[in-house]
């Protein structure tokens, strides 16, 4: 059903194929978060890899920064309807992280955990194979705290709530366990091209 009198603003033809349904492109970089921004001193930062309750590996900031680096240029899509094209990131791929820990994925599911208590679930197949990283730098500079610094998960092919800000751990789980927003009605996977915004979409 068309909305009376609504014409809409179309994206330019050269980028139209990169804007998922219901999204519109922004030049800015909006900030969304359910909690105040935590400011984590680098000498207190750490990242922990777990299988269930068991810690498999922990890195401090210095150790984490010594891991191999990967660069991504990707389009990102927020469930609040904005899309940002060609964002430039640098960090540690999940492939390299698992390699450094000497860990083969023991289950198909993970929960990412963050300073401030946020969490989100991501299937391991959406993290490995060059699809995701723990990002440390954005656009050539250290990641700003309100954009998730010192480190955020980056899973650019899923809605951006999956790219947990202030990430401090990745935990393998036996089942697909809902995280912070997924417990509140958001979709368990969140593919923007299928418009998986909310449970049942």
């Amino acid at each position: 059903m068309a909305t009376r009198g609504f014409g809409g603003r179309r994206p330019p033809r050269d980028t139209a194929g990169r804007i998922p349904p219901g999204q519109s492109a922004t030049d800015g970089f909006p900030v969304l978060a359910a909690t105040p921004t935590p400011y984590i001193p680098l000498d207190q930062w750490s990242f922990t890899l777990k299988v269930g309750p068991r810690t498999v590996a922990t890195w401090n900031w210095e150790q984490f920064n010594a891991l191999p680096r990967t660069q991504f240029t990707r389009d990102i899509h927020c469930v609040t309807k904005w899309t940002k094209l060609d964002t430039i990131w640098e960090g540690v791929s999940i492939d390299d992280l698992l390699k450094a820990a000497g860990l083969e994925p023991p289950t198909k599911f993970t929960l990412a955990h963050s300073y401030g208590g946020y969490s989100t679930n991501v299937p391991i197949d959406d993290l490995t194979g060059g699809k995701a990283m723990v990002a440390l730098r954005y656009d050539g500079k250290p990641l700003e705290p309100d954009h998730g610094g010192p480190a955020r998960l980056l899973v650019p092919h899923l809605y951006f709530w999956k790219s947990a800000k202030w990430v401090n751990g990745l935990q393998f789980t036996q089942r697909d366990e809902a995280g912070f927003w997924e417990l509140r009605g958001y979709h368990m996977r969140g593919d923007p091209w299928k418009e998986e915004r909310f449970a049942g979409d």
Partner: protein, 253 residues
């Protein structure tokens, strides 16, 4: 609707789109109008939740936006959205310049279950809103008033001018009841009109003075507005020794 009874009900049913009808349009400030929408399939919601609105062009192109519900949860089958006109916007100028009473608007909800207040949630509650960030907070304040509970609330509302304070007269009426709802205003582009009000951007001293209105530390702080506003307010709360765990934020972006 897809329901699988063998899985735990983590998610209430699928959010269905419905065609709501605009029953009234009320200007609130120079840049904000309220749109009252009758829902063919009314839903229960919590004060603070929002809906997604979807506009469709003749050729099938669609645009979606999220808007907070300004009305309190009730049985009327209508909701109120207060929409600010953004000059470079795609959807808000449609609402302000084209939409009329009787038009059908597709929407679905309720959405968001964190930036909410229920009457069972104990106070004191601190609410801080900038500009149209007041909308979800007003839903909470109306809910408190309708349900006649006396949970201590203090609202700090920031706007450019006295006339830009969204729902100003209604908020002043609630404050006049002296039933535990306190109102502090700050206007950033003109002078304060009431004793105890401020005339500058939000800062630590202002937040500390607002917290001093309360006899106890807040149990919950809900902060809504632009990202710089929310950052300033929430960091000022933390500087005033409020635990970050009790601060919930909603940022317009």
């Amino acid at each position: 609707m897809t329901t699988n009874t063998s899985t735990p009900d983590l998610h209430p049913g699928r959010l269905q789109w419905q065609s709501a009808v605009i029953t009234a349009i009320v200007p609130r400030t120079a840049r904000i109008k309220s749109f009252f929408l009758r829902l063919p399939q009314p839903f229960d919601f919590l004060a603070g939740q929002h809906v997604d609105v979807r506009l469709s062009a003749e050729d099938g192109y669609q645009a979606q936006r999220s808007y907070s519900i300004a009305s309190a949860p009730d049985a009327s089958g209508e909701i109120e959205l207060a929409i600010e006109r953004l000059e470079d916007g795609e959807v808000s100028p449609f609402f302000h310049d084209i939409a009329v009473v009787g038009d059908e608007i597709e929407l679905r909800g309720p959405i968001g279950g964190y930036f909410v207040w229920s009457i069972g949630d104990a106070g004191p509650i601190v609410l801080i809103g900038g500009g149209s960030g007041l909308v979800p907070l007003v839903s909470m304040i109306r809910h408190r008033a309708n349900q006649r509970v006396n949970t201590p609330f203090v609202l700090l509302a920031s706007a450019r001018t006295w006339d830009d304070v969204l729902y100003r007269d209604e908020l002043l009426q609630y404050a006049a009841r002296q039933d535990g709802f306190q109102l502090v205003l700050t206007t950033t582009r003109e002078g304060a009109r009431r004793p105890g009000d401020f005339e500058r951007r939000i800062d630590r001293q202002m937040i500390a003075s607002m917290l001093a209105c309360l006899s106890q530390t807040p149990r919950q702080c809900l902060v809504c507005g632009s990202n710089p506003f929310v950052e300033a307010a929430s960091q000022a709360l933390i500087a005033a020794a409020v635990n970050a765990d009790v601060i919930r934020t909603e940022r317009y972006g």
